[in-house]
Amino acid sequence: MLGLKLRKRTLVLLGLGVFAGTISAIGVVSAQGATSGVDPSASPAAKDASLRTVSAPVAPVTSQPPSAPVTPIVSPPLRAAQIGTPLSLGGVPVPISPAIFTVSNMWQDVVGQTYVSIYAGAYVDDPTQGAIIVRVVSAVTGLTVPPTGEFRSPRRGGALSLTRVDASTMTLSFNYGDGTAAGLSIGTGAFK
């Protein structure tokens, strides 16, 4: 079966790092009774070749890679410090699966040498449970840093919506789905 052949040859490639061009081409097999036309996959040989490994060094590497500059340039996001939905802010991608969490609204800005993104909403599998998700990324290292985290509301009042964010104190205000106002200190994780 083609699939098994493909898998075996791919595993050989992955395991040994052999360039796929050494493997003979096998035509695409069309199953009898196919109902969806021609298989749009590349030929198995071409497909394997697309997994090509980078050539190993032909000679010892004697020079170090170029050094990075010391101070990064930090650009504020488009529509910085505005509260809005991902779409109203221009279609900003959200690093949270919509299958898991529905974002009501969000806020982004640069704070010092960090990118701060705050998302409010509720869980798909339990829309009564709201949460604030905070993502802080170092502009120096590109890594997430504290107080990155997920802060579940202390009561099940539906999806949360941001109403105010104070970046200087890392505090925010939000409404529950029923309209009740509340707040969160991001640094301590304390709701009020």
Binding site: L2, G33, S75, L87, G90, V92, S117, A139
Partner: protein
């Protein structure tokens, strides 16, 4: 995201048992995966293409010392009126040329901090977010051009890695796309982007690290994204049950094209975005593939957490 902050889903930690026995017999329906899970690499949602930031991030990634495949997820396709690029996770436009330069700095950092045992594949990632939503800003004039431009970025970074003799630590550069049916119900943008990417030569594999929620695309369209051209499934496995749609599509592939798809990896998002640990998700996906002899894979080579 990192491990900072409050975690949820820890109840799933009890399911972390990693099977290590190599099966000597044919798979049975419901059998447990018969190989140990690969190491879980860390993938990144990018807020910037700043070369200092990405150089440092690459160095940090190498120091984690987990070999495998990781994703640099730069954002969704965009066009600023003169050049193609993405809107990144910090809501800034990054041109494909800036992505190339930033990714090359990442490779410099990774190589310089790697060791003799470092082995990594890196994907240059985008998504199909906003592809059917005209209210998004800076939408590409042409998703076909966006796809060929993305190919240009991937191939340029691959050539950079090769020409700098990084190949003993950075084994491969591929593309990747977080393709989610709900992001582009109309499908046409996703189709145009991938058809154009896959129409370039030489081809570079495109990992589909997206989802497969039902009710949006036909199975032929789902297949086209997951395994058409130079595409390979590298699916999100965020909670129990997500693997079933992929196994259904794999069985469709067998029925309609006479072969199964080859799953290169599993993408996790733990603890913030997932009910299950990366290893548990990987195990569930492999169990699904092993539930039918026609879709059987002895293992799934890669596992990453974003």
């Amino acid at each position: 995201m990192s491990n900072h902050g409050k975690r949820r889903g820890l109840k799933w930690a009890a399911r972390l048992g990693i099977p290590t026995t190599i099966a000597a017999t044919a798979p049975l329906v419901g059998a447990q995966p018969s190989f140990a899970a690969p190491g879980t690499t860390v993938s990144y949602y990018e807020n910037t293409t700043n070369t200092t930031t990405l150089h440092n991030q690459g160095c940090s990634a190498a120091k984690l010392a987990v070999n495998g495949t990781l994703i640099l997820q730069f954002g969704r396709p965009a066009y600023n009126g003169s050049t193609y690029g993405v809107i990144d996770y910090g809501n800034n436009f990054d041109s494909d040329a800036q992505i190339e330069t930033g990714a090359e700095a990442w490779m410099d950092g990774f190589y310089s901090c790697g060791t003799s045992s470092t082995r990594q594949n890196v994907t240059i990632g985008t998504s199909n977010y906003c592809m059917d939503n005209s209210s998004c800003s800076m939408l590409p004039k042409s998703y076909s051009v966006a796809g060929s431009s993305w190919y240009g970025a991937v191939s340029t970074v691959a050539n950079y890695v090769s020409s700098h003799n990084y190949g003993n630590k950075i084994n491969a550069i591929w593309g990747s796309v977080d393709a989610e049916p709900a992001y582009d119900a109309a499908y046409s943008g996703t189709q145009s982007f991938l058809a154009s990417y896959n129409g370039q030569s030489p081809g570079y594999a495109m990992m589909d690290d997206g989802s497969l929620e039902s009710g949006y695309w036909t199975q032929a369209q789902e297949y086209n994204v997951a395994f058409g051209g130079f595409d390979y499934p590298f699916p999100q496995q965020y909670h129990p049950g997500m693997q079933n749609n992929w196994e259904t599509l794999d069985l469709w592939s067998v029925s309609n094209y006479g072969h199964s798809m080859y799953f290169q990896g599993v993408t996790a998002s733990y603890p913030y975005d997932s009910d299950i640990t990366p290893v548990a998700g990987w195990s569930q996906m492999l169990s699904a593939l092993q539930s039918h002899s026609s879709t059987y894979q002895s293992t799934i080579p890669y596992l990453t957490n974003i």
